[in-house]
Amino acid sequence: MNHTTPLLQLSSICKQFGGLSALSDVSLHIRRGEIYGLIGPNGAGKTTLFNVITGLYQPGAGEFQFNGARYQACKPHVLAKAGIARTFQNIRLFANLTALENVMIGRHLRTRAGVFGALLRNRATRDEERAITGRARELLRYVGIEKPAQTLAKHLSYGEQRRLEIARALATDPLLLALDEPAAGMNATETASLKTLLQTIRASGITVLLIEHDVKLIMGLCDRVAVLDYGKKIAEGVPEQVRKDPAVIAAYLGQETPRPQAGEGQG
């Protein structure tokens, strides 16, 4: 595998919902091993782009390359297998499974035992099951929630649920970990420890894509940042540079540059 090619390359991605153009002509690339931030005002198309990257939406037009291969109209489980894992803005855990089981589901992809193995409980299946449990416990420890392993996910605290979602995503052995507003609803302490966790994850060789409202977190954490507004990429670069970009300032503060005619400012 050529390690100089970007891990993820999007070329001219478009996505429309009825008459609304949620993404128009978005191109960007994410390099291996970096933390890449995606910011923008509400309704800018961040989550739409995210859903395209993880296969929940099919792009209307454009090209999508991941890890050197081209993907078109892919099912989420195929992209998951290729190495993209994500978390959700509104947490989507399996509420009635335990924390440990939630992470074990993430191992589903990288394990094989079929129906017959499950029914016969042969040696290979039992060994695999033990390996899955071991790895899942390891991941819970990694994100710092090993204690409530047997607690149902719905009974965990908010911060723990966020961490559990990250552990579950890591269980799929991703190349790219995509996080949709992981700091939403967190207090300053929780955000700080999230930041440490993400740095540890990156240090372990996993590329991170981050959507965030918390501009301070993005600027302090990301190697490069892209800014979306009205479905278009209006800036990209290192945080320092993006912060000073007039188009970005205008998008956030709504001044100077005239906006496209799109109704209310809230988008």
């Binding site: 489980h77 998951a80 989507r92 399996f94 589903h108 394990t111 499950a118 409980r121 899955i132």
Partner: protein
């Protein structure tokens, strides 16, 4: 006292069959939110297939001890294929249709399967060869025979096995994950179509076992036998809380007991006005009562969860 014990034994045996069938309804509902009304017909086809296989094998001179398990395996294989086909052909194309569409399809499918069975096996009652010596055992004054013991023990073993599969294995975990949230399960790399297919296959295998049990117990098989049995098992699933596996088992056993005790005592209670031929009424009385007073069933919690 003997009558009470006798009715309890009969009820538990019949109830364990209801439980096996109810599990098929509840597994599919848990994952797809769909009531597979054709499931009763899968039970009937399981019985018919087992009967045909048994007749053929005995005709070839196979000893009963071999013919019976072999015909059970054949019936299970046939029903598993049927279950897979039902989902693939009738339900999968309607996965994203309004909920009424697959429900009506299920009813239609049930009629199609019934008529198909009638064309293949005819309208007459088929008697089931008596292969297991029907020795009655005296159990505290009540009578229980070998077939009943086998049915009850086998049903319990299968249910225990299913619980192990669902709660201790990779497939079971995937099933529970898909039941909770299909999107998230997909993102974890779970192929939901595969899990849904396997759910239908698993439920149909249980149906085949139940079909053989019913026809062995009553000594009869008939193309129409799946209809009432299916409705009663559905009632059992609703009673326990549809979508809940433990609920289906509990509901099945309870329904069997209610029916059997009701039939045993209704004559005394009404002074002979109504007899045990009112047995079938109890199941539907229970269905109405549950739907009115506790629609989520005894162990059900789905509705509360979603709130």
């Amino acid at each position: 006292m003997e009558i009470l014990l006798q009715q309890i034994i009969n009820g538990l045996v019949q109830g364990s069959v209801y439980a096996l069938v109810a599990l098929g309804y509840t597994m599919v509902y848990g994952i797809l939110g769909l009531i597979n009304f054709a499931h009763g017909e899968v039970v009937m086809i399981g019985a018919m297939l087992a009967l045909s296989a048994l007749t053929a094998l005995l005709g070839l001179g196979a000893p009963p001890a071999l013919a019976l398990p072999l015909s059970l395996v054949l019936a299970m294989a046939g029903c598993m294929a049927l279950g897979y086909g039902i989902e693939r052909i009738a339900y999968r194309p309607l996965r994203h249709a309004p909920r009424l569409a697959p429900l009506i399809t299920a009813i239609g499918l049930s009629i199609v399967l019934q008529n198909l069975a009638m064309m293949i096996w005819g309208r007459e009652y088929h008697s089931f060869p008596q292969l297991i010596a029907n020795t009655p055992h005296n159990f505290g004054g009540a009578i229980i025979n070998d077939i009943q013991i086998i049915i009850f023990v086998m049903a319990l073993a299968i249910m225990a096995g299913l619980m192990v599969v669902v709660h201790r294995t990779r497939l079971g975990r995937a099933m529970r994950a898909v039941a909770e949230n299909q999107h998230a399960a997909q993102l974890m790399g779970v192929d939901i179509n595969r899990v849904i297919s396997l759910t239908f296959i698993l439920g149909s295998a249980l149906a085949a076992v139940a079909g053989l049990m019913v026809s062995a117990n009553y000594g009869l098989a008939h193309y129409y036998m799946g209809f009432l049995l299916g409705l009663k098992a559905f009632t059992a699933a609703v009673l326990g809380g549809i979508g809940n596996l433990r609920g289906a088992m509990l509901g099945g056993l309870l329904l069997g007991l209610i029916e059997s005790l009701g039939a045993g005592y209704i004559g005394d209670l009404t002074g002979g006005f109504m007899g045990s031929n009112y047995q079938d009424v109890f199941a539907f009385f229970v269905l109405i009562a549950v739907l009115v007073f506790r629609p989520s069933g005894l162990l059900g919690e789905r509705i509360a969860e979603r709130a």
